[in-house]
């Protein structure tokens, strides 16, 4: 039982670290590249406009998909490693 408890706690803290990392990427592409750092990216040109515009209208959405699949893949692996899968 105590073993189960510590395993669950370890599982949860690994999950939290993974979520935090993913959220940093999530915020970086949308709020960062798409909104806040746009002036910094104005020199980099893609398709007739700046990189910030591309991130705001296309790049962030594509990154979001990548984040979800990455997270799902890592969590499935973690479930198995710790024997906590269904």
């Amino acid at each position: 039982m105590a073993d189960d408890k510590s395993k669950a706690a370890q599982y949860w803290s690994t999950n939290l670290r993974l979520i935090l990392g993913s959220l940093v990427v999530w915020a970086f592409v949308s709020y960062g590249c798409g909104i806040l750092f746009r002036p910094l990216l104005s020199g980099i040109s893609v398709g007739g406009t700046d990189l910030g515009f591309w991130f705001a209208q296309q790049g962030s959405i594509l990154t979001f998909i990548g984040i979800i699949f990455f997270y799902a893949w890592r969590m499935n692996k973690l479930d198995k490693e710790m024997g906590l899968e269904e």
Partner: protein, 590 residues
């Protein structure tokens, strides 16, 4: 074959398909009615979620919004997709493990409080009704534009169809119908976009076409920037919203999306916790097919529109030389022209062509055959263009065959119906399950509860239809309210319920109340009581204020819970249990 006949065939054929699926997928138990029996494969669930999520607004209006506000439209593009990342990591897997049927179920059980449950029920019902009224109206508008029937007849036809598969099939019927509706709506959106992209840029994929270079040697977006500046608009890729407003608006739409009950409930329908995570990914892929095409359709549509209306030399084109789509949509009232300088040419510039924004048509025709209007403004701009035209008139602007136009009509109806059905189900579930079963009379049997659910669905359809026929003037404004409410009440309550074992009833309830009241007060003040832009707090528009409400909710909840006793031990055990996938099994039948 005439366009009308084709449109009847496409819409009629799609309706027959939806009804067929509904009969095949009838619900026999409350579990099938509420969560489709909990056995929907993740890819199918992703597709159904995408159709559920993409409403008439996404299908018809979004490209137009982006087209007219350029870069600022990114708040919608990112806001309405970024929420799925939050769903996949912060909500869906744990709520699936919790294994109940509704959002108020989780809030009520987790906070062991009927007050918390009731607040969640009220939020759910208000959010869903706000949304559904617009969908029924959308169905009516599509019918009236393409089939020349009365808007009200269109609304009633839509009601009958939704009645069939929502009341008969519940979540099970809705899910499989939504899979079909997704296929119809995505084809209807993509086919014209492929054609348009080929014509304008020679690229087959609209997503890459947006970055392409035109025959003139300039890129699409550079052309748009130059045209916009020449006509007195802001640069297309620049935008004029303040950084803080963009920030708050995007956040409110993201967190609002993750807090919308009809989206969350979709993740209760998959068999396993891991399916809940991955089906958020599938949902976003299916959504992104449309959402990454939107900026391209917006850009091409705007170039086409300006060049057609103003001609190659930007001096205007004679009204009599205008292509037929211009006059068709003028007849439907989505385009208006006032020949202010009397040269018989149509000139499109920045500024509002008509007092109050929209043209008021007189029942007369002018010397060129144009519809006369009664409220021309002093601005030199002579043309009013409704933003919805970017999607609806695209096939005609690009001279596409009639079957594409019929397909777009069927797609718009599919988008509106699929969202309406998902919302109506959430409303009926809240009433039969959260109010009748959980609050008023816990002793009713499964079959009685199912009957209540069907009755509630019927009542909800009738109310939604009523709002569709007599739209309250505030439908457009209250969308801000739906996202604001979801972001400032449901979203923080669920997140705290999962990620904090210490969060108790007092904290959650006071957080929700503070978040809700602040958000509602701000939106009502600026949308209905004549608040002026210079009074905005830090320049945050009402659409973005849900973020402030959410932050207040988190703060108040954490402070209050720190000062009050911790939740009972069995609740803390439940929280620890929902954090790990093992032992999820099927959705509980209570």
């Amino acid at each position: 074959m005439s366009l009308d006949l084709l449109t009847y065939m496409f819409i009629g054929g799609s309706f027959a398909l939806y009804i067929g699926i509904a009969i095949w997928a009838r619900a026999g138990s409350t579990k099938e009615f509420y969560v489709a029996g909990g056995g929907v494969p993740p890819v199918a669930n992703g597709m159904a979620t995408a159709a559920d999520w993409m409403s008439a607004a996404s299908f018809i209006s979004l490209a137009g919004i982006v087209s007219f506000i350029g870069r600022d439209g990114a708040a919608y593009l990112m806001g309405w997709t970024g929420g799925y990342v939050l769903l996949a990591m912060l909500l869906a897997p744990y709520l699936r493990k919790f294994g109940k049927f509704t959002v108020p179920d989780f809030v009520g059980d987790r906070y062991y409080s009927s007050t918390a449950r009731t607040i969640a029920v009220i939020c759910t019902i208000v959010i869903s009704f706000t949304y559904v009224a617009g969908q029924m109206r959308g169905v009516g508008i599509v019918f009236s534009r393409y089939l020349h029937v009365d808007i009200n007849t269109g609304v009633i036809v839509g009601m009958v169809i939704v009645f069939f598969y929502a009341v008969l099939g519940g979540m099970k019927g809705i899910t499989y119908t939504q899979v079909a509706q997704y296929c119809v709506l995505i084809m209807a959106f993509m086919v014209p976009a492929f054609f348009l992209s080929m014509q304008v840029t020679g690229h087959f994929l609209p997503q890459t076409g947006l970055g392409a270079t035109l025959d003139t040697g300039k890129s699409v977006l550079a052309t748009l920037n130059d045209l916009s500046v020449e006509l007195g608009f802001d640069q297309y890729t620049q935008g004029n919203k303040s950084t803080i407003d963009m920030f708050f608006m995007t956040a409110a739409l993201m967190c609002g999306t993750a807090g919308l009950p009809h989206v969350i409930v979709r993740f209760f329908t998959v068999p396993r916790v891991k399916d809940a995570r991955i089906s958020a990914g599938w949902a976003l892929i299916f959504i992104a097919i449309l959402y990454t095409t939107v900026p391209a359709v917006a850009g091409f549509g705007r170039v086409n529109l300006i060049e057609t209306i103003n001609g190659p030399d930007n001096a205007g084109v004679e009204y009599t030389q205008m292509p037929s789509w211009f006059k068709n949509w003028e007849s439907s009232g989505l385009i208006g022209w006032a020949d202010k300088n009397g040269d018989g040419k149509v000139q499109y510039l920045a500024g509002s062509a008509f007092e109050g924004g929209k043209p008021e048509f007189l029942d007369q025709r002018g010397e060129y055959g144009q519809r006369l209007t009664g409220n021309a403004s002093v601005s030199a701009n002579e043309v009013y263009v409704d933003r919805d035209i970017m999607v609806l008139a695209n096939p005609e602007i690009a001279n596409l065959p009639d079957w594409v136009i019929a397909l777009v009509a069927a797609g718009a109806v599919a988008a509106a119906l699929s969202t309406a059905a998902g919302l109506l189900l959430v409303i009926s579930t809240s009433i039969s399950h959260d109010l009748m079963k959980k609050t008023i009379n816990p002793n009713i049997t499964d079959q009685q509860e199912l009957t209540y659910a069907r009755l509630a669905a019927i009542v909800a359809i009738i109310i939604a239809g009523y709002f569709g026929i007599n739209p309250p003037g505030f439908v457009a404004q209250v969308v801000a309210l739906a996202f604001g409410l979801a972001a400032s009440s449901v979203f923080p309550a669920i997140i705290l319920g999962i990620f904090s074992t210490r969060m108790n009833t007092q904290g959650a309830v006071s957080g929700m109340l503070v978040g809700l009241s602040v958000t509602i007060a701000y939106i009502v003040y600026f949308k209905f009581m004549g608040g002026t832009p210079d009074q905005l707090l830090f320049g945050i528009s009402p659409e973005g204020f849900g973020t402030v409400g959410m932050l207040l909710n988190f703060t108040v909840a954490l402070l209050v819970s720190a000062m009050t006793p911790e939740p009972p031990a069995e609740i803390q055990t439940i929280i620890e249990d929902i954090r790990i996938p093992r032992g999820a099994g099927e959705a509980h039948t209570h």
